[in-house]
């Protein structure tokens, strides 16, 4: 098991934070990731998670990202994902039926992380 590695990176602006995630974004490590997300949301107003180097992702991993987006919206902060073209990530997203045209009712800022690329 390679585990989950989360690297925090400060953006150019002080309130912008990048979380580079690599390894397994799965049920074994989602607790850890949740802490990292909560920590990030405390520190910054704009958080971007990079999933480009994720080697495995399951439902709980996807769900956590969704929850993070909602939490950010509720706190008037911005949350986004980059690296969704990662084949493993894209496949899990497709299989789980996460891809969609419009965000959910809580997506007031129309920033849903799953829009675009619906089948």
């Amino acid at each position: 098991m390679e585990g989950l590695i989360i690297e925090q990176r400060q953006g150019e602006q002080a309130d912008r934070l990048f979380l580079d995630v690599s390894g397994e974004l799965t049920i074994c490590f989602v607790g850890e990731f949740r802490e990292a997300l909560l920590d990030g949301l405390e520190k910054a107003t704009e958080i971007t998670v990079n999933v480009e180097h994720v080697s495995a992702v399951d439902l709980t991993g996807l769900q956590l990202l969704c929850s993070a987006h909602r939490t950010a919206s509720a706190r008037d902060k911005t949350f986004g994902i980059v690296g969704r073209q990662n084949r493993i990530f894209a496949e899990a997203e497709r299989l789980a039926g996460f891809s969609r045209h419009v965000g959910c009712v809580k997506d007031v800022g129309k920033t849903c992380i799953w829009t675009g690329g619906n089948e």
Partner: protein, 702 residues
């Protein structure tokens, strides 16, 4: 009404064929639910439409049989050989009733009553306290009348308990399994996902809406969730039943109707429409339904639309039913056209008018395409004939006390409808022979170290412009000595004749030849093989036989693809034209006066150091006049030997539209028909196998 009755009958005959095939398959796989359903559906349709078109006797009788099969379908009764036997007899009786309505022999009411009584005896008495198991709660998938399973579209809502992931289930794998069942769209509903502070990240707060089109049935869907039945809520609805109940509810929208009538202009309609918002948008705006639910519903709408569109496309591409005589008429007309076209081409070539030549070439190209298409329409897969033989073998082997299996290959091979029809009787003869004389009794087979069950293999395959049909059995093979002795006894061959294996086997095709010691109801009356050979030759085909003592026999029938138009070689003797089917022509060589002198009166030519016997046709047909200085030998291959036919000139290849010679000439040997040439004159089609046989017989008797 009569047209409807006729249509019903045609359908009923097809259903009876389907019923027979299904029953035979069912005997092999008595637990196959799909087959039981096919049998039931076939009977159900025969009954239902029978009653509708006034075939009350058929409807009443079929109802009784159907009732028994309904029991089988619901698991109240097992499929046994006895049941299959009785149902097959019922099928024959229904066919009898259908035939009777056409003036055939009436079916005795006692026969019907007996089968019904025997069927009823098969039905087990219901056990007290154990009600018959109910049928499946829902049909596995809609089964159309043709017995084909059609895909059904389901709407699933899958709501797992939050702990499902903690318990070790990966919902993604389940969704993956669903995707494998058919065309599938999955929308995750995330409304219940909590904020990070409250979220237990190891739990699952998501549920799914799935739209799935599958032909695997509802049980297959339930099976996917079988291991987490207690850990989830699952709701499955049918939203499209595969067209079984399609009453196309989609009619034009009001705006379209009004614009079509001219009561509303397109601009006005667009203007009005732009004022209104889409229903979904209104719902979301007014907070009636959350957007993700609207999206999920839209996905469903889209999915079903696509499925229906695909199905419609398939239905549009399906077939229409045309009476066979209309097709025959079409082929006849095309034949006439080919003849006229040949005349046009010939005339055009003579006139040297470039415009006319261009038109003639164009007509020739179109005619060729039309000919190929028209002939293609009449092509049928030979499989329909094959399936009939399964029943034949089943019944005959039981009668003969033998254990015989019929295997088939190449059922999809296509042949002209008329050829297939005329092929039926010869094939029945040959298969009967294999069963009766070829395959040994089970004890004899075991003693010879062979498997108890004998096999007859029926295969069809395309080979150039012909189709090869082989009947192979693993029986005792032919007894060469017995055939030879019989041949001498019957005076077919002289006592001292030296014959090759092939020639000996050829004897069994001679009229009045039979080596069977006993005459059974199946075969052995000595009328079989020569009739078979004649029938095959009437189809312009050839029949060959190879056999090895103790190992079995292979009979090969070679047939032309079509009977209507053939490629042939046009030749001339004096002013008369003849055509020879190109499929048997191997080459043409010259025959000079010197060659004739060197042959010393024997009809033998030396072709590349091989001796080829030939038949001088001018002499044979007693055509007067002088032979040219150099004649031509057209060398043909008949039954694996090369035989030449001497003619004056070889004109070239010719598209021959075959015309029959009519009753007046039915006793003329050596001619199988006639054709009309481009200049309007008639050319006779040579029946080469027949000519060869006649010459051989003459030589044997001299």
């Amino acid at each position: 009404m009569d047209a409807h009755r006729q249509a019903y009958k045609e359908e009923a005959y097809e259903l009876l064929a389907e019923l027979e095939t299904s029953l035979l398959e069912l005997e092999e796989a008595p637990d196959d639910f799909d087959l039981i359903n096919r049998v039931f559906r076939a009977m159900h349709t025969i009954k239902g439409s029978g009653a509708m078109f006034g075939f009350d006797d058929i409807a009443a009788f079929t109802h009784e049989v159907e009732t028994v099969f309904d029991l089988v379908r619901n698991g109240g009764m097992a499929v046994t050989t006895e049941l299959v036997n009785l149902t097959l007899s019922s099928r024959d009786l229904i066919k009898g009733l259908l035939d009777a309505s056409d003036g055939g022999e009436p079916v005795a009411a006692t026969d019907l009553a007996e089968v019904v009584a025997r069927l009823k005896r098969l039905v087990p008495a219901p056990k007290i306290g154990s009600p018959l198991p109910a049928g499946p709660a829902a049909e596995p998938a809609a089964v159309a009348d043709a017995g084909k399973v059609v895909p059904v579209t389901y709407r699933l809502r899958f709501v797992p308990v939050p702990e499902v992931t903690v318990n070790g289930t990966n919902p993604l794998l389940l969704l993956g399994e669903l995707r494998e069942l058919g065309k599938c769209r999955i929308v995750a509903q995330m409304a219940n996902v909590l904020l990070l502070d409250a979220l237990n990240p190891e739990c699952c707060y998501i549920f799914w809406d799935v739209i799935l089109t599958t032909d695997r049935g509802i049980d297959a869907i339930k099976d996917v969730f079988i291991f987490i039945e207690d850990d989830c809520e699952l709701k499955i609805d049918v939203i499209d039943d595969g067209g079984a109940l399609d009453t196309d509810a989609d009619y034009k929208k009001l705006g379209i109707i009004l614009t079509e009538r001219g009561d509303l202009s397109l601009a006005e309609m667009d203007e009005i429409l732009s004022r209104q918002k889409r229903f979904g948008e209104l719902l979301v705006e007014n907070n009636v339904v959350p957007p993700e639910k609207v999206e999920s519903a839209l996905v469903e709408q889209q999915h079903v639309k696509e499925v229906r569109k695909e199905r419609q496309a398939q239905e549009n591409a399906s077939s229409i039913r045309v009476p066979a005589d209309k097709l025959d008429l079409l082929v006849n007309l095309v034949g006439e056209l080919v003849t006229v076209q040949a005349r046009l081409s010939q005339t055009a070539a003579g006139k040297a008018d470039p415009v006319l030549v261009t038109i003639a070439e164009e007509v020739e190209r179109l005619t060729n395409e039309l000919r190929d298409t028209a002939l293609n329409i009449r092509m049928l897969p030979i499989g329909t004939t094959f399936s009939k033989f399964k029943r034949l073998v089943r019944d005959l082997s039981a009668e003969l006390g033998k254990d015989i299996e019929l295997t088939t290959a190449g059922a999809e091979t296509e042949l002209d409808k008329t050829v297939i029809e005329k092929l039926n009787d010869p094939l029945v003869h040959l298969i009967r022979n294999s069963l009766d004389h070829g395959i040994e009794a089970p004890e004899a087979r075991l003693a010879a170290g062979k498997p108890r069950q004998g096999t007859v293999h029926l295969a069809a395959v395309h080979s150039g412009d012909s189709v090869l049909i082989t009947i192979t059995d693993d029986g005792a093979g032919l007894d060469k000595e017995a055939i030879r002795a019989k041949g001498i006894e019957r005076g077919i061959i002289p006592a001292n004749a030296e014959l090759s294996d092939k020639e000996i086997f050829g004897l069994i095709f001679a009229p009045g030849f039979s080596t069977a010691k006993t005459v059974t109801s199946v075969s052995g009356r000595g009328v079989g093989m020569d009739v078979v050979k004649k029938a095959i030759e009437a189809l312009r085909g050839t029949i060959d036989l190879a056999s090895e003592r103790g190992k079995g026999t292979v009979i090969t029938i070679k047939l032309p693809l079509t009977l209507a138009i053939i490629e042939s070689l046009l030749v001339k003797i004096g002013v008369d034209s003849f055509v020879i089917p190109l499929s048997i022509v191997e080459e043409c060589v010259e025959l000079t006066r010197d060659d004739l002198k060197n042959a010393h009166g024997r009809n033998l030519a030396n072709v590349r150091d091989q001796i080829v016997p030939y038949v001088p046709l001018r002499e044979r047909f007693r055509i007067a006049g002088e032979t040219p200085e150099i004649e031509q030998i057209v060398i043909t291959r008949v039954h694996d030997s090369r035989i030449g036919f001497v003619v004056d000139h070889v004109v070239g290849e010719h598209q021959t539209v075959i015309k029959s010679l009519g009753k007046m000439y039915k006793d003329v040997n050596g001619l199988s028909g006639a054709t009309i040439l481009g200049d309007g004159s008639v050319a006779l089609i040579l029946d080469i196998p027949r000519l060869v046989r006649d010459v051989e017989l003459e030589q044997l008797t001299n």
